[in-house]
């Protein structure tokens, strides 16, 4: 230490004292208690064509506060704050919103982007740019579509996730019950040659038991504009087709028995194999799944390989049917390529794709789709034969 006070080192001492000034990064000092942490963003369109931006801000008092253990909202403390602002662009709306907010808006922890119907109908491409350009938001945020106003979804206070609907929505997407689309995926799909995309549809469910969110169905976008919606059942087919199915159950009614049998899908993979023969474009969809029996209402013996074989055949048909359903609605009905058929052809036949690229819109609905599913029932579950049935009455075939 003494060395620093020697006359010849005095200058060094001064310099050393000055350096720490730069270490704090004064210009960009932000304290957590000056931030309004945004958990979810909703986008709507007002009647006069402006953007209405709603944000869900986590209420710091409600999280981790002393009242937390005895349930949130007990002292009238809202778990989240929803605010809205309108403007010409998202950023414009954001600055209007900032005027009304005493804390600095911070999107770094934004988990969901919810697009309202009014905005979806006029095209979403131009509005997604903000989320890929402004430095703070992440491309990981999940994107949803809602049939009504996005603000309403943000206002829902679900029972789980500390009453944060944005977090609840993200968890729902992660469960992969419906589609799971992040901002990155959306950007990729919009940039693809067809520009068609699909977003999971989120709705608020209100009942006597409390509020909640559910993902039911999918919104189909053609050329970045909303063209149609498909329901939950058809969405399953879409998930099969896009290899996005993860937690699913299949229930079938065997032909020669009473009651239903349910299966749980362990793993499944879908392969799109495009072929072009004599100028005819064909798509072969090869699906392989492995399932376990989870419930057996019938009197069939699940240990019998012959019965299992029959059930496998029947399940294959049931999967085929589901996929056919979505093909009918989306491929021939809405003519929107949300399955990635275009990319599949582009990857396998790059030369032929280039010649056809302009006419893909016309070509897509005419593509013949052949579904080849292969179901493998792996295990009967904890029981072999049907439970609660005397041994001799079991159906053996």
């Amino acid at each position: 230490m003494k060395r620093l006070f020697k006359p010849e080192k005095r200058l060094l001492t001064i310099v050393l004292c000055c350096i720490p000034i730069f270490l704090s990064g004064c210009w960009d000092r932000t304290e957590v208690n000056d931030l309004a942490i945004i958990a979810g963003v909703g986008l709507d369109r007002t009647d006069n064509g402006k953007i209405e931006l709603s944000v869900q801000i986590t209420n710091p008092k409600a999280i981790g506060g002393p009242g937390m253990s005895s349930g949130s909202g007990q002292s009238g403390q809202q778990p989240v704050i929803v605010k809205t602002g309108t403007g010409k662009t998202i950023y414009d709306a954001r600055s209007k919103l900032q005027e009304k907010t005493s804390r600095q808006l911070f999107e770094g922890h934004n988990r969901v982007i919810i697009i309202g119907k009014s905005l979806a109908e006029t095209g979403i491409r131009k509005h997604i740019d903000f989320f890929a350009r402004f430095p703070i938001p992440r491309l990981r945020a999940n994107v949803f579509f809602t049939d009504g106003k996005a603000t309403d979804i943000l206002k829902v206070i679900p029972s789980f996730e500390n009453g944060e609907s944005a977090e609840a929505a993200r968890e729902l997407a992660e469960l992969k019950i419906g589609m799971n689309v992040t901002t990155k995926d959306l950007l990729q799909q919009l940039a693809s040659s067809s520009g068609d995309t699909a977003l999971p549809k989120i709705t608020a469910s209100k009942s006597k038991l409390g509020e909640g969110l559910k993902v039911n169905g999918t919104a189909i976008f053609k050329n970045n504009k909303l063209t149609g919606q498909i329901d939950d059942k058809v969405t399953r087919g879409l998930l099969w087709l896009t290899d996005a199915i993860e937690t699913a159950s299949v229930t079938i009614q065997p032909k020669d028995a009473e009651g239903y049998i349910s299966f749980k899908i362990l793993r499944s993979s879908t392969e799109l194999i495009p072929t072009i023969k004599n100028g005819k474009w064909k798509m072969i969809v090869r699906i392989t799944t492995e399932d376990d029996v989870t419930e057996n209402e019938t009197k069939l013996d699940m240990m019998d390989p012959k019965i299992v074989e029959k059930l496998e055949k029947q399940m294959e048909k049931s999967i085929d049917k589901r996929i056919q359903l979505v093909l009918d609605e989306v491929q021939t009905g809405m003519e929107a390529d949300v399955f990635g058929f275009g990319e599949a052809f582009e990857r396998t036949y790059p030369q032929k794709w280039k010649q056809q690229e302009d006419q893909w819109d016309k070509k897509f609905p005419e593509i013949e789709v052949v579904i080849k599913s292969d179901v493998k029932i792996r295990r009967p579950g904890r029981s072999g034969g049907p439970q609660g049935v005397p041994q001799e009455k079991e159906k053996k075939k």
Partner: protein
Amino acid sequence: MIEKGKISGLQMAILLYPTVVATALLILPATTGQFAKQDMWLSPIWASLFGYLAVMIAYRLHHYFPQETFVQYSEKIVGKFPGKLLGFGFLFFILHTNGMVLRDYGEFVTGNFLKQTPLIVMIMSMAFVCALAVRGGLEVIARSSQIFLPVFIVLFFLIILLLIPALNPKNMFPVMDEGITRSIRGAFVPSLWFSELFLISFLLPYLHEKEKGLKWAVVTTAFIMITLVTTNLFTLLLFGDIASSFTYPVMDAARYISIADFMQHVEAIVMAIWVTGMFIKICIFYYVVVIGTAQWLRLSDYRPIVFPIGFVLVSVSMWSASNLQELTHFTRTSWTFYAGLFLIVIPIVLLLIAKVRHKFPKKQSH
């Protein structure tokens, strides 16, 4: 010789690796993806050929003039006045490029992290740290990079590892559907980044084990190539066609990481990689300018001019472009030829002249 320090072959390799990788790491996918599309992971392989070429030229020239750097032997090869001119041009090029590198660093940090901080503060603080390292001499730079490089590599692999679950191999196909040309076009700009390896001309004279110099230079080129291929491949598998639409694709890739809901928001790692890598890169360029200027002016010590040159460097860096767009556009177009001239063409010409003179020494003495 004015540099009294000596470095080992490994240290040289450690110095060279970040010299190329640091800038390339963040913007390479954007630069190559623009031309090479889904073949962009092939581009660094072609580009690395230029790296080997630059290393070979520098090594051959070093063979003729084992104790001297580019600035010194250019005078011996083409004569005093043209040699001085070449030396000046080369130093100007390195100073200008270093200014751009420094600017790149500042733009990245202000653009992504410290949005309110003035650019000049970022640039000046980096230049100051580098000045201290350069003033310490080659050994100091080599040792600091020896400390930083493991951090750099570990963090880089951490990012890669954490990204694996989000990758989609389908994005890679079709491979080379338009033949090899697209990936070669994408290799154009990175090949000049590889050519920066010519700077070993300023390191080779200070090597302990001269015979191992070439070996380590080749090894480091190979490692650079592998790193860049990995970078491109991973951004491609994550982003597909949109990889080139980001300013800093690797940055956005890191921001995409989310593992088990808690391993997220790790982009500070990218910042750490970038800052450590850039520090070494700027140091090396800075060192080359300083030692080159000292030799050009025939000074007996390079230390007095370190700070003044740092001052010039900061000015040049502020001066080099008015915004990021201009800077990027310049590095992608004119700079490639500018760099090609000084790092490949002029050295080759010098090497040829040196070869001819070496073969017919008598003609020269008359």
